[in-house]
């Protein structure tokens, strides 16, 4: 069997490190606990009795469950973003500072192969975690309430891409900054992008172009909020979407609502953004003196 290409060796090493350091085990255990608790919460929605002494109707359960799932997913996507940023932040910088990278760089390995390998390894982990935990959560909600989001595959893709975006940003910062600095910047950027998205929505509600542009620019710089809106849209039942559309422009000024899926142009930009960040990461690491 021929030797693996260096990119795959580095990717495997990254996955191996996360596994051996028990990061995966910790995430799996925490996810099971959170899914268990949320399943119990969702189950209670369908069994609690209202002031009239009757349990809620099926329609009411679906509406409440859909909104609660959006909130749970928001927290969950935050945890995913935080984990990606915290893990990616020190991915290269720690190895440079500790000297771990020296003996690898002395091998016939290109720096681009190290960057791509590390990105690939972490991207595999983020994807597996996003798919596995989201599927588990949706199964739990389905069991507790019979509610399944209208577009579950799109939901997983958007949330997963949000994690991958934070991972990519963290990795870029990791080529130059210390782990803690890179991780903190990536997280603050994620929060700012979310706030920028809300400001943009308010601009839409007020029909003020300048304020609206804040949201557009923030989504171009870091597309996490745009992806999050895609995830929300994938979770909104038709009945809620109809109500929101009926409520006019002000209904758009809601960080937990999205009337339309992300436009194709935005999705194309996301692809360009990922390529750009990876290219910048390679350039930054190649020109760094170690």
């Amino acid at each position: 069997m021929p030797a693996l290409p260096p990119v795959l060796v580095i990717a495997r090493l990254t996955v191996q490190e996360a596994s051996r350091r028990r990061l995966l085990l910790a995430l799996v255990i925490l996810t099971l606990i959170v899914v268990g608790i949320s399943a119990w919460g969702f189950y209670k929605i369908s069994t609690v009795t209202g002031p009239n002494g009757k349990p809620p109707s099926h329609e009411e359960v679906i509406i409440v469950s859909s909104q609660l799932l959006i909130f749970v997913t928001f927290v969950y996507s935050g945890v995913l973003a935080l984990s990606a940023a915290v893990v990616a932040g020190p991915l290269i910088s720690n190895e440079v500072e500790s000297g771990l990278i020296l003996s690898i760089l002395a091998r016939p390995v290109r720096r681009s192969e190290i960057v791509i390998g590390k990105w690939l390894g972490l991207a595999i982990l983020v994807t597996i975690y996003a798919v596995g935990s989201a599927a588990l959560e949706m199964t739990a909600v389905d069991w507790a309430t019979t509610y399944v989001p209208p577009h579950p595959v799109e939901l997983i893709i958007y949330v997963g891409l949000e994690g991958l975006a934070l991972l990519s940003l963290g990795l870029l910062l990791s080529t130059r900054l210390s782990g803690i600095t890179g991780g903190v910047i990536a997280l603050v950027a994620w929060l700012m992008a979310w706030i920028g998205g809300i400001v943009g929505d308010i601009g839409t509600g007020l029909q003020n172009e300048a304020v609206q542009d804040v949201g557009i620019v923030s989504r171009l710089i870091l597309p996490t909020d745009g992806l999050w809106r895609g995830a929300i849209n994938a979770m909104e039942p038709d009945v809620i979407l109809a109500q929101l559309r009926g409520a006019g422009a002000f209904a758009r000024a809601n960080p937990f609502a999205a009337l339309d899926p992300p436009p194709v142009a935005f999705l194309l930009w996301v692809a360009v953004w990922f390529s750009l960040i990876l290219f910048l990461s390679i350039w930054s690491f190649r020109t760094r003196e170690i």
């Binding site: 030797a3 060796v9 000297g99 771990l100 020296l102 003996s103 002395a106 390995v109």
Partner: protein
Amino acid sequence: MAGVAEKEATAPSGAVASSSSPAIHTVELTKRFGGTVALAGLSMTVPRGEIFGFLGPNGAGKTTAVKLLLGLLAPTSGEAWVLGQPAGNLGTRRRIGYLPELFRYQSWLSAREVLAMHCELAPLPRSTWKEEIDRTLTTVGLAERGRDRVGTFSKGMQQRLGLGVALLGKPDLVFLDEPTSALDPVGRHDVRGIIRELAARGTAVFLNSHLLSEVEQVCDRVAVVDHGRVIAGGTMQELLTGSAVRVRVTGLTADGHSSLESFGPMDVEGEQITFTKLSADRVPELVSEMVKLGGRVFEVVPRHQTLEDRFLQLLDED
């Protein structure tokens, strides 16, 4: 895209990429970090198959030189060829071993897994890995600990592992940056043996070390660097031509010490004064002068100049 050094170009004119080309050849190799000159016009040649000692005080530019030769740093000016190819060439790195001064290996892997990863990156044929790893672990004295996690290793064991990583695949050139800094005397003895074995099979060894006695014992040729440039170099015989005299004397004043400067460079350590460049025929004159200055001479030991004497003398002159 401008990179640090991942060249795949062939050797420039003047350097021949064959087994007859020197292991290392540099011409006016210079590296500046902002306003600080780390290496100022390093020119040297290391022949194949020799053990080359690269000496200098802290901050002299030794590690910078190694990193430039490995392509981890880009030179500000000057040129460097390693095994007949420009420094940093990807293909050449297949034939190079490197033990960094700041040695650190994946703590979550076992020693065998670290070596296997380097076999994979080197890359060596998979069929040879097991034999290569077994041989390397035995050479560096870690045969019993191969399956243990690196995180459980002492510093000395990690340095042994680093040495093993550098030896994988029988390289043509090995860079050892302070290879015994974490080792006990037994370990140091072992490493000297390993270095001699490498040279015996034709591998050139570039040894960065503060331990002058170690360098003196194993090196064929040395270069002394200070402030980023070579201040002396040559074979050990060429370098250590002089003799030294150690005197145990009391009662000398500071002025008295100054008066003795005509006898050449001195290394004063309490009552012991070593004249690092003084021939034995001047000893009576020296003793007479010391007595005249009010000194009481207890012991005079003429001896061959050691590398340490010569090293201190060179730094003094510099």
